[in-house]
Symmetry: C2
Subunit: 297 residues, 2 copies
């Protein structure tokens, strides 16, 4: 369905992030060309760009310069894309299709996919370490510390390990919640926090944004589980029914479709409630929250 | 051979880095335990710790607090260890032995090895983003920018891609030099530069240290090529004769053993020459330069 706030916002951020990656990933005229081409294949021209949109939406609350917010958005998207590349490898999820086209190791080869993922990982911190991202080194350093924690073994990578172990053991609802809070929630939490960091809001002033991120992040994951059950490969751009085939517990297997959908809607309402003290400047964040459960991809 | 400066310095740094990783990688009591155990397996108890030694030796020239230099040393070692883990994967070099024990994907599994490498990669930036590494956020931010560049597609990862392409095309001496300057030289350059950054030496004051790093880094690589030809698996802790088996051009295949050895010795003399303006405080860096060509592992 058309959304007057969200549709143009998604379209704009997709163009901006593509153009930023295009500039950051200029192909050098030497044997590294193949590496840069592989990074471009994975990073440019596909993906919803939900994470950069969350960064700019959060930064917008605090009147942060958009070009700077976009650089932080590109950094977190680089981390997200690297994690998808490594996740898709034969030794991990062994996926052939991602964002509607062959996965990187299928289009190139496994070694190039490992290296391109590693390179996007380093690129994220190279972007954040650059003073074009923020003139205040304290802000840069805080962004880097937070992103590294969100991506590392205490965040996303730790969640992926829990997910691997999950295939061998039956998790309960609280374990699945914890897994997802690490695997996808930590990076989404960073997106909201990043806007506040750039806006020089001290940690104690970020509680509501963290609450929004936690609830909406979880709602997104529940909706992903529902799409994995009900979605169409053509629209999601990836294989569906995968979790069920692997015998993994998800919010849908644990709660059933109806209760899972209700839970996601409750979380979205809670997430929007955290924004009560903001006015129209938070309408984009409210629209993103609703999108979490209303989307078909 | 015994060296009164170098032997105790290597022994000390090995203990210090092991103990720092031991503290940083405390195993959590949840399903992430396997990930942290894999990170510990790869990061603790083995390796020369040449890169942390270079960081502390460089930092020592500028009276930088040793605990801070050690944290930067641990960060660069985390990057080095992650690159070894990913390099050893079946889709890359497919190695079974590293630092004298089974490679990580042999001791655990491939998926855990990918994730543990990714986690050590993030850990490096988490360490540098923490204010325990340096109280000045400008210093932290500069260290992070430099390390990300040295590790990423314009540095180490770019050199690895050139190395992969090298297996398919005959490189000449200048191409092999360029490849090695990226693949191993960029990170060694960071080690020397990091000491100066922590010592608040501006970029124009770091030229000599960069010259030392370039020459000694290349000498190390030539010596590695000689060890790959002549060395014993037991002492090097990895498979020897590998480059020759893969038909790759190295300094030894291009120059022959005698000229390669002469070239390495010349580079070491040049590297030491860059330290002429320093007194006894640079003796450790001089000893490390000599070690480059005199070692048997």
């Amino acid at each position: 369905m058309a959304d007057t706030i969200l549709d143009p916002a998604f379209e704009r951020i997709r163009t901006e992030i593509d153009s930023l990656f295009d500039a950051l990933l200029a192909v050098p005229p030497d044997p590294r060309a193949r590496l840069f081409e592989a990074m471009r294949y994975a990073a440019i021209g596909a993906g919803k760009r939900l994470r950069p949109l969350l960064v700019t939406a959060s930064a917008g609350l605090f009147h942060v310069d958009r070009q700077r917010a976009l650089r932080v958005g590109a950094a977190v998207e680089a981390i997200h894309v690297y994690s998808l590349i490594h996740d898709d490898l034969p030794c991990m999820d062994d996926d052939d299709i991602r964002r509607g086209k062959p996965t990187l190791h299928k289009a190139y080869d496994e070694a190039t996919a490992v290296l391109a993922g590693d390179s996007l990982h380093a690129l994220a911190f190279e972007i954040l370490g650059d003073d074009a991202t923020h003139e205040d080194p304290f802000v840069r350093s805080e962004l880097i510390g937070e992103l590294a924690r969100a991506a590392g073994p205490s965040g996303m990578a730790g969640g992926q390990m829990m997910d691997m172990v999950a295939a061998e053991s039956a998790l309960d609802l609280s374990a699945v919640t914890r897994l997802q809070q690490l695997k996808t929630g930590a990076l989404i939490g960073f997106c909201l926090e990043a806007g506040a960091i750039m806006g020089r809001i001290p940690p104690e002033g970020r509680t509501k944004l963290r609450g929004y991120a936690r609830d909406v992040g979880l709602a997104f994951q529940i909706a992903d589980d529902l799409l994995d059950e009900e979605g169409e490969e053509e629209k999601t751009g990836k294989k569906v029914g995968k979790d069920r085939d692997q015998g993994k517990e998800t919010f849908v297997t644990l709660l059933g479709r109806d209760r899972a959908r209700q839970q996601a809607e409750l979380l979205v309402a809670q997430g929007i409630e955290y924004l009560a003290s903001y006015g129209a400047e938070a309408d984009l964040l409210r629209a993103i929250a609703r999108f979490a459960v209303e989307r078909d991809h």
